[in-house]
Subunit: 77 residues, 2 copies
């Protein structure tokens, strides 16, 4: 079993890394690129049946900063 | 249209950030956690039909380090 937590900056928060990445893409020939957001992808291997409540708690308290980031939790069976 | 590039450390490469995250999860009560890998998730907004070949080139040359990282490209219509 695997859980994937994706942590992205909230849309309302300035993302300088995303802006710099977008500029670099334009220089590499992708003129039509719109907004770019850069976040984290965390893959967690779990031996048995996952404790989703505990995973949400960890995603919220350890893996993301709820003030400036949103997270999504996906369980891959 | 949106493209999502996920960049993860190759399985054969040591991932100290992933190891530290796994330890922290155990302290927060998720004893059964296995291997944890930490990577990047890059969301790219594209106005028209995406140029997949150009996106692969950018994912390989700009967004990832092919020596130690693998990337996956997903187009979200």
């Amino acid at each position: 079993m695997k859980a994937i937590v994706t942590v992205m900056p909230k849309p309302s928060v300035l993302d300088p890394q995303g802006a710099a990445t977008a500029e670099a893409m334009k220089h590499l020939g992708l003129e039509s690129v719109g907004r770019v957001r850069v976040g984290k992808s965390i893959e967690i291997e779990l031996p048995g049946e996952p404790n989703e409540e505990k995973l949400h708690e960890i995603a919220r308290d350890l893996l993301s900063n709820p003030v400036i980031e949103d997270y999504a939790l996906e369980i891959v069976r």
